[in-house]
């Protein structure tokens, strides 16, 4: 249960950072926190009390007492995609800084909305 609370709080903190902060790097940190929180939430949905990891590496492991493998597979691919997209986002931020000489989104005209 505490895992649910932790991941909800991580999502809330990330959302707050994305909305309120004006620095571009802080916004990216908020996005990363949201992604981590969602990963933790998905993994903790698949957990079973007293379960073991879904790997038949030792004898005597019972398939009934294993945790759900599908959330783990989904999260595994999501983490790699997060990293590559954040690299792309950091490249965009570096180019924006070179063009506008600032990281403040209030001063970058073409990002206003």
């Amino acid at each position: 249960m505490i895992y649910y609370v932790g991941s909800f709080l991580l999502i809330a903190i990330g959302l707050y950072a994305v909305i309120v902060k004006k620095n571009l790097i802080k916004i990216l940190i908020g996005l990363n926190l949201i992604a981590s929180g969602v990963n933790l939430l998905i993994i903790s949905v698949g957990y079973i009390k007293g379960g073991t990891a879904p790997i038949f590496s030792r004898a005597g492991l019972n398939a009934k007492m294993m945790v759900d493998p599908i959330p783990q597979a989904l999260t595994l691919t999501a983490i790699v995609i997060d990293a590559s997209e954040l690299a792309l986002a950091v490249a965009f931020v570096v180019l924006l800084y070179r063009h506008y000489k600032t990281l403040d989104i209030k001063k970058i005209r073409s990002l206003k909305w």
Binding site: I2, N39, S44, G46, L76, I79, L86, V90, D104
Partner: protein, 79 residues
């Protein structure tokens, strides 16, 4: 097990608040990497060793390095 997860989650929330409130951007990025590392420990407690390895090597090493390169190329502190 339950006590360990409580301690880790309280630490994780504290580090997340630090990582969005610190003015020094490099310190903020390091706090975010610490959040990733604690999350990988939580994955290990939730019986997901594959995901724990991926999070520890990608989220805590490569992502943090990419962020630090980006911060070094731009401004170091938030005004």
């Amino acid at each position: 097990m339950i006590l360990v997860s409580w301690i880790l989650i309280v630490l994780m929330i504290g580090l997340a608040v630090l990582s969005i409130e610190l003015k020094n951007l490099i310190a903020a990025v390091v706090a975010m990497g610490a959040v990733s590392l604690i999350i990988s420990l939580l994955f290990l407690l939730l019986q997901a060793p594959d995901v724990a390895m991926a999070e520890a090597s990608i989220g805590a090493a490569l992502t943090m390095a990419i962020y630090i390169i980006g911060v070094r190329e731009t401004e170091r502190s938030e005004k």
